[in-house]
Symmetry: C2
Subunit: 416 residues, 2 copies
């Protein structure tokens, strides 16, 4: 453990097995142990959409991710603090991560200006909830300065100013186990010069985040761990530099954020450049990746944890995760569309080999009916299945790392 270990006796990383950069670890937190590699289910507004904390625990989910930006606006971090923090607020006693607000700022700013998200085709994704507004392409709601970020709320247009110091204070109030330094994300359309300037500012914000973290107290009687964020876009020299700079700072963990390029191959390069420069003894989180090839390759390349809305968002749109189609062929996107006419009278579960509540009890025919008629239960049951799919995939990856068969698993899932 680095110096942070002394400040945070509740946290410790134990590496149990390795296969090249890939590793099996035990990451101990004040709310229990996370066996990694692990998927981190996204619960933006202190709820993993459509499921209760009890249902979430039943899927085997070890850790969840809440969004600071959304909770800062509603219900407000002071309200969450008044309820004893996120764990008590949402009745989830396992580990929680929060982000810094940086990515949402990017989404409102450059993401909108450039018409892109983390990867070009996943923004803006879901419709804005009723009564909320979204910026139009070209209409930035954000202004970045050295001191911080001015932005307008996507809910009511109100003006806000986020700084590293405010992000840390808000995350102290929210009370997650793992929190993130404040950063600026860049888009694939930003050139190297802009990306470098932004990265260097993110490094200065990392120092300010660390200072604010050291000078503040955890609110809920247990310590929090602070992760630094590596930026640098898809530029090799920048990613390596950022990994060295952030890796040397006194963070408890490292997150890889921002623009990971336009293709999986780009992303693999970004991860490889970054991980090669990172210290071995800190947990590594890959931000915003949750597709099957992405997480398997991320594990292969040395990432420990992964958060992404895709499994749960896909579920709400009727996309149920599976490895093979019924004829035994591998599904290109690792999912079937439950809204399809072909399932109208299909009495089989999504996956006969899945042990989730949905597959044990409900047919594709029923799920299709619920999803086609807009019944919430369809989204809830599909979400339960997809979360269980992810926890089982990660459990299989952990077992293969323990058994020394990870490369075989990788080959079986992804082919040549």
């Amino acid at each position: 453990m680095n110096e942070a270990g002394n400040r945070n006796p509740g946290f410790s990383l134990s590496i149990e097995a390795e296969d090249g950069p890939a590793r099996l670890t035990t990451w101990t937190t004040p709310h229990g142990v996370i066996q990694t590699p692990a998927f981190v289910a996204v619960g933006t507004r202190a709820t993993v959409k459509t499921v209760s904390s009890e249902q979430l625990a039943e899927t085997g989910t070890q850790v969840i991710f809440n969004n600071t930006y959304h909770l800062y606006l509603r219900p407000g971090s002071e309200t969450v603090a008044s309820q004893g923090g996120l764990h008590r607020f949402m009745n989830w006693d396992r580990p929680i991560m929060t982000d810094s607000g940086g990515f949402q700022v990017f989404s409102l700013g450059a993401g909108i200006e450039h018409g892109v998200g983390k990867v070009a085709n996943i923004f803006p994704g879901e419709e804005a909830p009723r009564g909320e507004r979204r910026g139009k392409p070209g209409e930035s709601m954000v202004k970045v300065t050295e001191d911080g970020v001015h932005f307008r709320s996507h809910i009511d247009g109100s003006q806000h100013f986020f700084t590293p110091e405010l992000s840390i204070r808000v995350q102290r109030e929210l009370g997650a186990d793992m929190i993130l330094a404040f950063d600026e994300c860049t888009s694939p359309l930003h050139d190297e010069a802009y990306t470098r300037g932004s990265m260097e500012r993110t490094h200065r914000w990392a120092e300010r985040s660390l200072k604010a973290f050291r000078e503040s107290e955890a609110l809920h009687g247990y310590p929090q761990a602070l992760y630094g964020i590596v930026q640098g876009g898809a530029f090799g020299s920048l990613r390596k530099e950022s990994a060295r700079v952030i890796g040397r700072m006194d963070f408890d963990g490292i997150a890889i954020g921002g623009n990971l390029g336009r293709t999986h191959a780009d992303m693999h390069d970004v991860i490889d450049w970054t991980v090669a420069e990172l210290p071995r003894d800190k947990p590594r989180h890959l931000l915003g990746i949750g597709d099957v090839p992405g997480v398997i390759e991320g594990v292969a390349r040395g990432c420990d944890t992964f958060d992404c809305v895709a499994p749960t968002r896909n579920a709400r749109n009727g996309g149920a995760l599976r490895r093979f189609d019924d004829d035994g062929t591998r599904l290109r996107n690792f999912r079937i569309n439950l809204r399809s006419e072909r399932f109208a009278r299909d009495s089989r579960p999504i996956d006969a080999e899945c042990d989730c509540l949905t597959c044990a009890n409900y047919s594709r025919s029923y799920l299709r009916h619920l999803l086609k008629t807009g019944e919430q239960l369809g989204q809830q049951l599909a979400t339960i299945h997809n979360l269980r799919f992810m926890t089982r995939l990660f459990a299989d990856m952990r077992a293969s790392l323990e058994a020394g068969t990870f490369q075989q698993l990788r080959q079986e899932w992804l082919g040549t």
Copy 2:
């Protein structure tokens, strides 16, 4: 048991205690026993909105109500039959009732023309789901003839023709335990002459429903019970006549339907007129009533079962059922509005004395946050509470009937 008992060996009614017209009964069905008085949770499209069948069972719900009209349109009764009927389709192994489609026809027809629902202030209630259409006031989508009802789908405007024979066939395919004869509902704005003509047609349709029921077979290897529906609007002479006519026919149970007047006092009269003429040995269902005073007075006046969307619809709108406010005063509407600002930092459960999953695990502050931000989990958790409230209220009524203290309970809940 009447003659129907011989045809339906799976059904039997046992009256365990009485207090005036009020009664404690055991109504045995092929999917288990219903202890009455009982609340019947409404699951319009083969789902009690927002909750799984597992969650529903945990609330103590004994029996649910599905809507034939909605299921006939989507996914179609033949699709449900192909899946083994409603019980297997929705994974609910306790009793199910279906209605005949008559009330929905009323909602599309006279309900829209007259701008009224069952009681004037509860129509059209909820917003139409996305992609569906609702008629405008004055724009009828229905034409009633002696043979049946022509109507247009609220989903796509397609033409349909419902008859007593079709209603029975569809309900045979759906496979509920208790099914209803096809009827026409009238509105409070219909005069006595129209209401009489409609009632007499409903009686002719009752005979046709019985004939179609006798000539058809249950599809799923167990018998179904057919309930006749008493109509007659809020006119005493018509209600008495209808109760005598329907009560003498060879139905397994009796439902009280249609316009029950404009006030609770009107409804009490309608129930009293009807129940006085009904046979003692058949179960009695009051259609569409689920408010606290309505069900207590309905029990007092001899009704056994009650279905209504109100407890679940109110939940989705943030109305959580409680008897008393926090200061000990009785709540006029027996509910609190969880969306209220006063609950923003209220860490108490909805009701500290409630044993539901929601009250055991979640605060008002969290529920308000979920409901204000439009998160489905808020509606799910409020629904669980309201269903549990109803099952506990009915359990208390049953216990008081057994103990001979029902009048005391009625007095305590409703005052003078």
